[in-house]
Every structure is written in structure tokens, then in C-alpha cells.
């Protein structure tokens, strides 16, 4: 048994409909190590771990745990085998206390709860041992996100585990809380436990793990010892993909400043600092890119610019007019177009037709409306025109937009936003969820818009997208702009390091951690 790995995942496959989440993953975890699973969003990390802990059943492949082939049908069975997972979305019932959450589903349903003192004592003991500061009688809904996470970790320990899986544990934490969590992982290993830790943050991974496996497109592409690698190599493994498209384009001819952002600061919806003093200018006739690992403030930046999130400090100036804190409708009407990251939330109304979606912002303006009545003919004509020009695959303009594929929905959003003749276009994830053909088409369309003198800000986690059409690329990390690079693929390493939060001074030194 000693030579065998603690946990071995052998050629696991899993698909959800047309999406392949795991494409033959093979991975080995040793007993007593901290093993990091590194990769971009959608690389298949969470799904893989959900299969280990019994949340999701694999289609093919084998999981060998302590020398035995296992197949868990529920998280409960996995916990019985001493495997526990802390999910990104907590499994805590907000209207119950910490202790009540821990005993949920334990014992017989008819049991009278009369041993809470013992439960409380056990929680206090564990909490003291790991200095987690968890009060057993606290209500979950009164706790901060960081506290809830400690409660979740302690819950898994309470049930007794040897293998702990943490899914993006630091995504919701402040830097101080992150430090505390990373220290806790060390403590757990000292107590003989094994930790698998999912992340897309290079620096954290370098700090605590023994080994790192990099995932890309549903596969583990590399497993390396931390001692034998550095941030530069990891960045390359994470982002390095087949270089794709070369779009023909002329050099940019930047004109006047259209959008100017000064020292913009705002918090995320959960109240954590998200954008910290971002300043940038976008000129007419250029495409400025913002690169970065997701969750570094890009979402909040685009929401704040478009008026969907309150601005704490700083200014946004469009065409010389201050638009900070205006209502989204006013911002939209002043020459600002927004192609949002989450089109289902901010871009379209799934249950409405294509034509109703094309006039979402202009339903009350001529020619679409007159004397309080919609002009169906004008709306239909306009929509048919957009469908034709942007090759949106649909039955007709009255089809429900929810019935279209993601790519075609995106094409309609792009068509609508460009048809409003904006001066400035904010794009967050231009090509999300769309196929290569459609991607090339919308990118070419963006270049045409640039050449006709519009100012474009493209926020993306897809470096290819940025390299293909941007004239300069800013890198965002921890809510700040860390640097600017030309769209030159030979400087990919540098870009990767900036994305990981290593500024130019660090570049001079060799690997930081290890």
C-alpha cells in the first residue's frame, strides 16, 4: 500500500449535454500533501472534485482511494470514507445555528435533540485546536462570508475526514483571511490530513502547496513539484494554448479621448473592495484590452462604468461629460454601449422575442414607438435587418431569444449595441460561449467599429481574444491596473506574471516562492 498513491483518478470522463467537463483526467494525490489544482475558469477543476466527493457521478473512469476502487453515490458516502469537500457555494442553512448545521441529517429522523451540550463542546474543542474562532450557537445568517467558510471547514472536520477538498476557498476572502486559511491548511497537514485546493491564483498556490496540477480544457496537462517550478512556468502552462486566429488589421489611428476613468473605486455586491483606484483613457479609433484572471475586479469595473454598481470614489467622463453615478438609462443614452459579461442577467430577456430584445433600451423612441404605441412594423424591419447583417441564426424576428444558441444570442446583443451608434463600446467577454466562426465574425465587426472611429474597451480573460484585436492591453489584478503591454504574443510570459500580481520589479528576480 505504501507505494500506491493515496488517491488516484484514472481517465475520468464526464459530459453535461454537449459540454465536456472532464476529458480523460488522470491525477494522483499523495497522503499528507497539499495538492493545488490550478486552471482558468471552466477548465474542469470543480467538476473533477465534485466527482471525488460524490456530488457528481463520472461517465467513465475509475477512482482508487487507499488502494480500493470506489464509487460514491452521494456526498454522505464520501464522508463515510472520510473525504469531505468545502464548496464554493456554502452548504449551510442560514436560519440554523452552527451546531444545528453540523448535526443536520445525522442519526435517526425521529431523534429528539437532547445532546446539544456535547455537540457544542466538541465544536469548541475543534475550534480551539485550529484557532478557528467558531461559536457553536451563532446563527449562520449573522456570520460574514469568511466566518461562514471557517464554519464549513470545521463542519467537515467535525464529521471526521482525512482528505479535505477546498473549492476556490480564497475567492471570497480578504487578504488577511486568506493568510489565515493558508496557515490552517498547513496545520491540517501537520495533523495527518491531505488537502486538495482548487485555485486560479498563482501566488497562493506557490505559497502553500507541495505539488501543483494544472488543468486546461477538462484535462490535467502537467503535475509539478513546487520546488521545481516558478510562477513564470506556471503562468505559461495555465494560459498557453494553441495560438489561433490572425485577423487582418491596419494599425490604429487613435484620436481624441472618448472615455476617461479617473481613480475609480468601488466594492463588489458582497461589499468587499473590488476596484481600487483604476485610471485609464480610451481614445477614438482604438481598442483597449483589460486582461486578468477572473475575479480581480473586472466584473465590478464594467458594472460601475455602466451604472449598475455604485461608485465609491473617482470619476467616469464620457465625451467630456461626467457620467459617474448616473442611472444606466442615462448612461446608455449618452453614447455608451455595453456588451455585458453575463448576457442572461444584463443583456437580454430570455422570454422575450428577438425584436423585443433589440428595442430594450429604445422601446419608447421613434421610429419604434409613437403616441405611446409600439410600431410593430418598424421594430420588425429593424430587427430583420440586424438578423441579416449579423447572420443571427433564427426562425424569424418573433422567435423567443431563449431558444437561440448562446452564440446567436451574443450576436444579437452585439448587433443591438452597435446599431445604437455609440461613441464608446464597453465589452466584457466578447466571445463567451460562442463558436469559432461567430467569434471571428464579431471580432471583425469590432475592428470595423474601431476603424470607423469608435472607442472600445474590451475586458476579457481570453488572451487570444485580446491579442487578436486590441491595440494595447492593460493587466488588472486585485482591482488595480498593474501594467500595460502591446498585443505581442512573444511577451506572453510577462503578461502571465502581471496577471498573477507580479509587477515589473519582481520580473528581475528569479522565482519568488518555492
Amino acid at each position: 500500500m505504501s507505494a500506491k498513491p493515496f488517491l488516484r483518478i484514472d481517465n475520468i470522463r464526464k459530459r453535461f449535454g454537449p459540454i465536456i467537463a472532464s476529458d480523460g483526467v488522470t491525477l494522483e494525490i499523495d497522503e499528507g500533501e497539499i495538492h493545488a489544482l490550478l486552471g482558468e475558469n471552466g477548465a474542469g477543476k470543480s467538476v473533477l472534485m465534485s466527482m471525488i466527493c460524490g456530488m457528481v457521478r463520472p461517465d467513465e473512469g475509475e477512482i482508487v482511494y487507499r488502494g480500493q476502487s470506489v464509487r460514491f453515490n452521494s456526498p454522505r458516502e464520501a464522508i463515510r470514507q472520510r473525504i469531505g469537500m468545502v464548496h464554493q457555494h456554502f452548504m449551510l442553512v442560514p436560519n440554523l445555528t452552527v451546531a444545528e448545521n453540523y448535526i443536520l441529517g445525522q442519526g435517526s429522523a425521529l431523534k429528539v435533540i437532547n445532546d446539544m451540550d456535547k455537540v457544542h463542546a466538541k465544536i469548541r474543542e475543534l475550534s480551539d485546536h485550529y484557532a478557528l474562532d467558531v461559536r457553536p450557537d451563532a446563527l449562520i445568517e449573522d456570520l460574514s462570508v469568511g466566518e461562514q467558510q471557517r464554519v464549513e471547514i470545521l463542519k467537515v472536520l467535525f464529521h471526521g475526514i482525512d482528505l479535505l477538498i477546498l473549492d476556490e476557498p480564497t475567492a471570497v476572502l480578504t487578504p488577511q483571511e486568506t493568510d489565515r486559511l493558508l496557515a490552517l491548511m498547513g496545520e491540517l497537514v501537520k495533523d495527518g490530513k491531505t488537502v486538495v485546493f482548487i485555485s486560479h491564483k498563482l501566488d497562493e498556490v506557490m505559497r502553500v502547496s507541495n505539488r501543483i496540477s494544472v488543468m486546461r480544457d477538462g484535462r490535467v496537462v502537467h503535475t509539478v513539484n513546487v520546488a521545481e517550478t516558478d510562477a513564470r512556468a506556471l503562468a505559461r502552462m495555465m494560459v498557453g494554448r494553441d495560438v489561433g486566429m490572425e485577423l487582418p488589421r491596419s494599425p490604429a489611428a487613435p484620436g481624441r479621448i472618448v472615455l476617461s476613468v479617473e481613480n475609480l473605486t468601488c466594492r463588489s455586491e458582497t461589499g468587499l473592495p473590488a476596484v481600487r483606484g483604476v485610471s485609464l483613457d480610451v481614445r477614438a479609433g482604438e481598442i483597449v484590452g483589460i486582461a486578468g484572471v477572473s475575479g480581480n475586479g473586472q466584473t465590478e469595473l464594467s458594472l460601475a462604468l455602466s451604472g449598475l454598481l455604485p461608485v465609491d470614489a473617482g470619476r467616469v467622463v464620457l465625451n467630456g461629460t461626467d457620467i459617474t453615478g448616473l442611472e444606466p438609462a442615462r448612461i446608455n443614452a449618452s453614447g455608451f454601449s455595453h456588451i455585458p459579461e453575463d448576457r442572461h442577467k444584463h443583456g437580454i430577456v430570455l422570454s422575450l422575442s428577438l425584436s423585443e430584445n433589440t428595442i430594450l433600451q429604445r422601446y419608447d423612441q421613434p421610429p419604434f414607438a409613437a403616441r405611446g404605441m409600439l410600431n410593430r412594423r418598424a421594430i420588425g424591419e429593424h430587427t430583420r435587418d440586424l438578423i441579416k447583417r449579423f447572420r443571427v441564426k433564427s426562425r424569424d424576428e418573433d422567435q423567443r431569444i431563449g431558444d437561440l444558441s448562446g452564440g446567436n444570442q451574443q450576436k444579437l446583443v452585439v448587433a443591438r449595441e452597435l446599431a445604437r451608434n455609440p461613441d464608446f463600446i464597453l465589452v466584457n467577454q466578447l466571445a463567451r460561449g460562442i463558436d469559432i466562426g461567430a467569434m471571428e465574425f464579431v471580432m471583425e465587426e469590432m475592428l470595423k467599429q474601431r476603424d470607423s472611429g469608435r472607442a472600445i474597451l474590451l475586458i476579457s480573460t481570453e488572451l487570444e481574444e485580446l491579442f487578436a484585436i486590441c491595440d494595447r492591453i492593460l493587466v488588472m489584478c486585485h482591482g488595480e491596473i498593474l501594467g500595460e503591454l502591446p498585443p505581442d504574443r512573444s511577451r506572453l510570459d510577462e503578461l502571465g506574471l502581471l496577471m498573477a500580481g507580479k509587477t515589473a520589479d519582481h520580473l528581475e528576480q528569479p522565482a519568488l516562492a518555492g
Binding site: 456530488m55 457528481v56 452521494s74 456526498p75 454522505r76 452548504m91 449551510l92 442553512v93 442560514p94 436560519n95 440554523l96 444545528e100 448545521n101 448535526i103 443536520l104 441529517g105 445525522q106 442519526g107 435517526s108 429522523a109 425521529l110 431523534k111 429528539v112 435533540i113 437532547n114
Partner: protein, 310 residues
């Protein structure tokens, strides 16, 4: 009115309030269970009617009030099983199914009653008040609290039992979690659907009991639509009571007071208000309550939403 008369009036009022609140207490405590598990059963009115009818028919045939009450509970639960099947297993919309069951309950009981019972014109022997020795002779308090029938007294037991089950058993704990974060319950290895079924059964069983009280402990006859909106008022009681069984008990008493007040005011010759206005009092108070007690603070967050398993 002199002081003595006023005290007597008050004592009678309070006594009547408790009696009139009894069906509301059963139905609303039952609905607390249902809603705590995330199932909003607006079919309470129909369920209570079914309970009232089953109770009446059984007592009519057997002469036993106890069997009648059991039949009321059973009839309510059977009706609830239909609701549970459509909303939990089929995942149909709870409001639509609830509305349909209200109509079904009204139609079905009216149909069967007209077909088999209306011509008999006979009533049944109802549960008689039990005078608790010594206590029932107390001035004021005796009339108000100690001259009720057993079903009315049992509301206290139900309220206490409901509280113990909900807050002191593993079943109750899981039930409360199911309405708030069903996925957590699923992950903890409990069957969410089974708990919702159980919650609906408790809810409709108690609603059936509340209905049966109307025919077996209050009036001695079944009348079409005898519940006259009590099922809907019970829904309002649950909101006012912030989803707590003890709260439901006391809020029901408050509504019982409105019922009693309108009945007794009608009998006061000195008050010249059209009796229709007085009759509307409990319903008006329901609206006022729902306006005053706003906000969804205490509502189970998954109320009305089906749970999709992985």
C-alpha cells in the same frame, strides 16, 4: 353598560374567541410546518372543507365524534397527498395546484352533501363543553377559559407539541432546513421530497382537523362552504405569526376575537352599524394585517419553489 355587564360581555367574548379561533389554530399551525419545508399550500380552504365534510359524514354514520375527527384528519391528508404529488413529485406550480384543490374541495363536498345528506336535514350530536371543576366557577376566568369542549382545549396541546417537534427533534431541524437550503439537506443525505411530503401531510392533516371541528365541535351540521374563508385567513395568520407555531396560536386567537366581536356586536341592539360591515371585520383585519406585517424577513427563502435534484 355598567361594569358588571361589561365584564360578563368580555368573558363571553374571550370564551367565544378561543372557540372561533380553534379551526384557525389547527390550520395555521399545520401550514407553518408546510411552509417551513418550502411548500406554500393555498389549498387550505378546500382541505378544511374536505375535513369538515368527512368529519360530519363519519359522525353521522357512526355517532362517534372521535371517529369523525379522525376521518377529518384522514380526509385532509388524502387531499394533501394529491397536492403533494402534483407540487413535489410533478413539480407543478404550488399556487395553481392549490387554487385547483380549493375549487375541487368546494365542488366535491357540495356535490356529495347535496346528493346524500341534504334531504335528511338532520344534525349530529356535537362535542359538549367540559366544565373543569372549581376552575369553571371562577368569576370571569371560568366563563372565558374553563367551559370549552375537549377539541378547543386540545389546541394548547397541539401548539406545544408542534413547537417541540419543530425545534427539538431531528425531524423538525431537517424540516426547517428544507425550506431554507434544500441542497444542504440533500448533501447531508436526507431526502428533500420525503420531508416535503411529510410536512404537507402534517399541514393538511391539521387543516382537516380544523375543518372537522366546525362540524363536530361548533355547528352540528355541514353547510356548503362552511369554512367561509378560514383557510385563507389561516394563510395570513402564518405570515403574521412569522412562521412560528406558538405565534400562530396567539395570532389565531386574535382573529378569533374579531370573529367573536362581530357576532356579539350584531347582538347588541345599541350599535347601529349594518351587520354586513361587522361580518366583514375578520376579513378586513386580514388585509390590514398583511399590509402592516410587511417584509419577507422570516419567510423560508425557498417558499413555493420546487427542488431540483442533481
Amino acid at each position: 353598560m355598567d361594569d358588571m355587564m361589561f365584564l360578563t360581555f368580555l368573558a363571553t367574548l374571550v370564551g367565544a374567541a378561543w372557540r372561533l379561533a380553534t379551526p384557525l389554530i389547527f390550520a395555521s399551525i399545520g401550514e407553518v410546518f408546510s411552509e417551513r419545508a418550502g411548500v406554500l399550500n393555498i389549498g387550505l380552504e378546500g382541505t378544511m372543507l374536505v375535513g369538515a365534510f368527512c368529519g360530519f359524514a363519519t359522525a353521522f354514520a357512526t355517532g362517534s365524534i372521535l371517529l369523525g375527527l379522525l376521518a377529518g384528519v384522514g380526509g385532509g391528508m388524502l387531499f394533501g397527498l394529491v397536492f403533494a404529488f402534483f407540487t413535489i413529485t410533478i413539480k407543478a406550480d404550488q399556487i395553481v395546484v392549490g387554487a385547483a384543490l380549493n375549487l375541487l374541495g368546494m365542488g366535491l363536498t357540495a356535490f356529495v352533501f347535496r346528493t346524500y345528506y341534504v334531504s335528511t336535514g338532520k344534525g349530529i350530536e356535537i362535542a359538549q363543553p367540559i366544565h373543569i371543576p372549581w376552575l369553571s366557577d371562577l368569576p370571569f376566568l371560568g366563563e372565558a377559559f374553563f367551559r370549552q369542549n375537549l377539541i378547543v382545549y386540545s389546541t394548547i396541546l397541539v401548539a406545544i407539541l408542534a413547537t417541540l417537534v419543530l425545534y427539538r427533534t431531528s425531524f423538525g431541524l431537517t424540516l426547517r432546513a428544507v425550506g431554507e437550503h434544500p441542497k444542504a439537506v440533500d448533501v447531508a443525505g436526507r431526502n428533500v421530497a420525503a420531508y416535503r411530503y411529510a410536512a404537507v401531510m402534517v399541514g393538511t392533516g391539521l387543516a382537516g382537523l380544523g375543518g372537522a371541528f366546525l362540524t363536530l365541535g361548533h355547528s352540528n351540521q355541514f353547510v356548503e362552504g362552511i369554512t367561509s374563508g378560514r383557510g385563507f385567513i389561516a394563510l395570513a395568520v402564518v405570515v403574521f405569526a412569522r412562521w412560528s407555531p406558538i405565534g400562530a396560536f396567539f395570532v389565531s386567537l386574535l382573529f378569533g376575537l374579531f370573529y367573536a366581536l362581530q357576532l356579539m356586536l350584531q347582538a347588541q341592539a345599541s350599535i347601529v352599524v349594518p351587520y354586513q360591515v361587522l361580518q366583514a371585520l375578520p376579513y378586513l383585519m386580514t388585509i390590514v394585517t398583511l399590509v402592516v406585517v410587511r417584509g419577507k424577513g422570516a419567510a423560508p427563502s425557498k417558499l413555493g419553489q420546487p427542488y431540483e435534484m442533481r
